[in-house]
């Protein structure tokens, strides 16, 4: 639904490098990719984010040509590529484990694609030097692959593809094997490279931080379908489905019953018996069951009763501190026994919060999200 809206949007004049219509792939009874449609404007960084097994790898392999879709169409620069074998498609792929050819040097790895493309040999050296300079590995041409570090291999794998000027560069979780520090660097580096080459990137990952930091557009994929396509901000602040709400960022989730509605504000009583005020864009008849999502970072902790008027204010007991530097969280319990996770500001006030201490947490109704509980599928907590 949402992705079609986006497709229309993009088709309204922006030239697109890649578009898919109702793409499906089944393995036996199992639908790995189920009628996925989307289009990516030229030069965008597009991420497909989803848990493992959601079909994102299958989707990427269909784009690369290693798997044939059961139905639907793939258009690259407006041309259907369904009957084009992988070696003729104007897309290149950075593999999960990079797949650099270990029997060749860095320069030979890059030259492989140039040779196949029929670029005259005398131009190879210039092109290779230029692309190596762009990925900040000048004079690395003669090195063997096993002499490179993880981050350098990454850059060579990207250079090897980008030297061919593909219409679309596909990236299959290439940062997965790197350690945390390097991964943070490479995120910024990848974004820089994408801007510099002005190539459309399609990046698949299960790591939301990678997707949010780098992407212009993110598609959240679940069970073979796109749940929502949007900018990272849209997905974070305005998730359209419970799955997106729970998959992007952390949330406290409570199932409850609607007691009443006045305007956009509804009153919910959770299963534990906690009364909450929440905002709902949809009509929610009293008595209907809904799930409320409250992000840990929207809640404020205060040692005493907050002075400003808050829609929701609960007196809670500290259970434990989950220390993680700037991302530290506090687990607290209401009198009714509901457990909440709250972001813990690293200010002097809260350093000495002992378990058992009583504090207040408060937040506004419009910072909650709520979705009707679907009769069959409940969103999986992540």
């Amino acid at each position: 639904m949402s992705d079609q809206a986006f497709a229309l949007d993009a088709g309204a004049g922006v030239q697109e490098d890649l578009a898919c219509t109702l793409l499906s792939k089944h393995f036996g009874e199992f639908a790995a990719v189920d009628e996925v449609s989307f289009s990516i404007p030229r030069g965008a960084f597009f991420s497909i984010l989803g848990p493992s097994g959601c079909g994102k790898t299958t989707l990427l392999r269909m784009l690369a040509g290693f798997q044939q879709p059961d139905s639907g169409d793939i258009l690259i620069k407006g041309q259907s590529v369904l009957n084009t074998p992988p070696n003729k498609r104007p897309v290149n792929m950075v593999f999960q484990h990079l797949a650099l050819f270990p029997t060749m040097s860095v320069a030979e790895n890059i030259a492989y694609g140039l040779k196949r493309k029929g670029v005259p040999k005398r131009e190879h050296a210039t092109l290779i030097d230029a692309v190596l300079a762009k990925v900040q590995l000048p004079d690395y041409g003669k090195k063997r692959i096993d002499q490179l570090s993880g981050g350098q291999k990454q850059r060579v794998a990207i250079a090897r593809c980008l030297v061919l000027n593909p219409a679309v560069l596909l990236l299959d979780e290439p940062l997965g094997a790197l350690d945390l520090k390097l991964r943070e660097q490479m995120k910024i580096e990848l974004k820089r490279l994408q801007r510099e080459f002005n190539t459309t990137f399609v990046y698949i990952t299960h790591d939301q931080s990678e997707a949010l930091v780098m992407s212009d557009q993110v598609a959240v994929m679940n069970k073979g379908r796109f749940e929502q396509v949007g900018t990272p901000q849209e997905l974070y602040y305005h998730p359209k489905t419970p799955f997106v709400a729970s998959f992007i960022g952390d949330s406290n989730q409570y199932v409850g019953k609607v007691q009443g509605q006045s305007g956009k504000t509804i009153t919910v009583v959770t299963e534990h018996g906690v009364r909450l005020l929440s905002q709902s864009s949809e009509e929610t008849p009293p008595g209907s069951r809904i799930t409320v999502f409250i992000r840990p970072e929207v809640m404020q902790i205060s040692l005493g009763q907050p002075e400003a008027e808050q829609d929701n204010c609960l007196q809670v007991t500290v259970l434990r501190t989950l220390f993680d530097g700037a991302r530290s969280q506090l687990q607290v319990e209401t009198a009714e026994g509901a457990v909440l996770t709250v972001a813990l500001p690293q200010t002097a006030d809260f350093h000495a919060l002992e378990p058992g201490r009583s504090v207040y947490v408060s937040w506004q109704a419009n910072q909650c999200l709520c979705f009707p509980v679907a009769p069959v599928t409940r969103p999986e907590a992540v």
Partner: protein, 293 residues
């Protein structure tokens, strides 16, 4: 006091090391090195009278002056090289199919199917080929029955029959190292080869074969040595006049009782095989240790 248990341990460790090494050292020295030293010594003497020997190179000069020996020697080398090359050409697609196309049960099944013929002795397997190829054999009979020929055809006792037998005998020794090296080739490397614009031929040439080179060479070395030193298959399928060098050695040792000449031939065969293997490694730029690991 603290040093003693340490040194005791070290002595024990040394003793264990030598005990474990002993069988292989005994095996090599008693069965390989000692006979070869003796063979070199035997080949370098000439019988001047009964039980009277003199140091001489005559056994080697005999080899180089007698065209029959010389020709047989070259013929055996060339046939062995051809047999090795053909075995490689046939075994490579088979191994690639087993290692990279199949997976799970069919893969194991096909691999075992390659292995099953080797549960039967070489003699019986060669006899199988004789049943097929001889004048009164199955192939000849089938051709007559189809009316393609009007009299029995003899397909044994020629070079093609020898070649068929040699390739058949060597197959497994090529398939096993090839499957092992191809198994270790990451499938995504092949996909990357296609993704970057390579055709099947390019992917094969620039990615699969360079990766499989150690396996190819170790398979070739084993097959070449087995073929060069094969006695049974050339004799049975090629007949008495198949001119295989091992037959010459056999004749010298057993029929003519000329151990001196036989030993010289044996040494020459060893030198030949070492030389060709060394050349092969040089040409393909592989190191012996890497190929054999």
């Amino acid at each position: 006091m603290s040093a003693e248990p340490g040194s005791l341990k070290r002595t024990q460790y040394r003793l264990g090391f030598w005990l474990l090494l002993a069988p292989i050292v005994l095996w090599l020295s008693l069965l390989i090195i000692l006979p070869h030293i003796d063979m070199v010594l035997v080949s370098l003497r000439e019988r001047v009278a009964s039980r009277q020997y003199e140091f001489s190179f005559s056994n080697y000069t005999e080899f180089f002056t007698e065209p029959l020996y010389w020709n047989t020697f070259v013929r055996t080398a060339v046939m062995s090289i051809v047999a090795t090359a053909l075995t490689l050409i046939i075994a490579f697609p088979v191994s690639f199919y087993i290692a990279k196309v199949l997976s799970g049960k069919p893969k194991m099944a096909l691999f075992i199917l390659c292995l099953i013929p080797f549960w039967v002795s070489e003699l019986v397997r060669t006899y199988g080929w004789m049943i097929l190829l001889r004048e009164t054999g199955l192939v000849s009979g089938a051709l007559q029955w189809l009316g393609l020929v009007d009299q029995p055809v003899e397909m044994l006792y020629n070079d093609v029959a020898i070649m068929v037998g040699l390739i058949y005998t060597s197959m497994l020794f090529m398939v096993v190292p090839l499957v092992t090296t191809l198994d270790s080739l990451d499938k995504s490397l092949i996909e990357a080869g296609y993704d970057l614009g390579g055709s099947s031929w390019h992917v094969m040439k620039s990615i699969v074969i360079p990766h499989a080179m150690p396996g190819i060479m170790s398979g070739c070395i084993v097959v070449f040595m087995l073929t060069l030193g094969n006695y049974l298959t050339p004799t049975l399928l090629g007949g008495k006049d198949s001119l295989w060098f091992t037959e010459q050695i056999y004749t010298q040792f057993i029929t003519r009782f000329n151990w001196e000449q036989g030993a010289a031939f044996g040494i020459l065969l060893l030198v030949l095989s070492s030389l060709i293997v060394w050349l092969g490694l040089k040409i393909t730029k592989q190191s012996f240790t890497r190929v054999m690991s």
